[in-house]
Symmetry: C2
Subunit: 227 residues, 2 copies
Amino acid sequence: MNIGILGTGIVAKTIAGKLSSLGHAVKLGTREVKATLARSEPDMAGGPPLRTWLESQPRVTLGTYAEAAAHGELVICALSGQGALPGLQSAGAEALGGKILIDISNPLDFSKGMPPSLSVANTDSLGEQVQRAFPTTKVVKTLNTVNAFLMVDPQQLAGGDHSMVVCGNDAGAKAEVTRILKAWFGWKDVVDLGDITNARGSEMFLPLWVRLYGALQTPMFNIKIVR
Amino acid sequence: MNIGILGTGIVAKTIAGKLSSLGHAVKLGTREVKATLARSEPDMAGGPPLRTWLESQPRVTLGTYAEAAAHGELVICALSGQGALPGLQSAGAEALGGKILIDISNPLDFSKGMPPSLSVANTDSLGEQVQRAFPTTKVVKTLNTVNAFLMVDPQQLAGGDHSMVVCGNDAGAKAEVTRILKAWFGWKDVVDLGDITNARGSEMFLPLWVRLYGALQTPMFNIKIVR
């Protein structure tokens, strides 16, 4: 499948690498291709800069946000909370229209100190903002509650015996994303919270996540919804 | 031990019943004792009204907020989010001073429709408000992330294989509350998030909790922190 991923950070690269290993043709989207390729510093996880990494990924290419979105039959938003709406606007409603958009971004606000607060919460969410901005796009919020490495390989933790939530307005899109989570990434337990307003729930889990990260001293954890 | 519980709702009664069964002398606190005893309708879980229930509980008595707080060597706030600060103010700083206060209350705001939002979140929390209002009281936030029946009997779900978080500024108080959670109630996994500002994390879990309640159609669930 042709898949567009908006973003070039750890989440984008980790998902692109996984999808590429499964045989999919991935195009990462960035604001300025030249500037992104000019970066020579390691990424935030200590990995190689993007241009070096791309050389090792024959099925992953780089383009603008618009090119990545146009490339994708499925589009994934792996941008920061601040970058998500501008990046999606840059991709354009036409390139995103009618498509499934997996929204992983969290509205983390680092401007008020650590741990971060949320820039939107409680009576709205970034997932809803994205859905309102792109009404014909089928936004499915998921994967935002775990570390990038667990997103695509949950079975490295407790054999995958933990949970993921999804929400969105389109039942068919949620079913397809749930299938992808299970069949491609190996998730075993996926709970459908309901419509996109439930992104308030999964995004407001982040303040607990960042504190658990502090307490446990590792990002390699997740919650299992025991019932 | 003499224990004061502020509140007469399901959470207060469930905890009082458990503590009483363990031999502790519990005093429930209410705003107006006469009015509380005059109520004849069943409680929210369909149980008997408080005056009937009290007759079956030889070690549980009822008093004002101030009397319950004065009675307790340990005090538990089992009030609603709206009622917590007024109830604690009514109990008084003198009766609460120097004591451990287990704060279970959640700042749920039902005024904006269902599921509820939070009346304080993101850059503050009810736990912090309580700690600021009673600076010499050792506030420990915990148990607010599960149903009342799981609070005191976690082993009825998956043999207790799920998690509870605590936070608070006083290390000794947290150690004592953790001991109580484990030895009296049967919790197996208790994670210390850190100081009371971490109540933002556990209170902001509630928007996910209420949505999981809707999706799972049962309140008898909890999260296990898998790591």
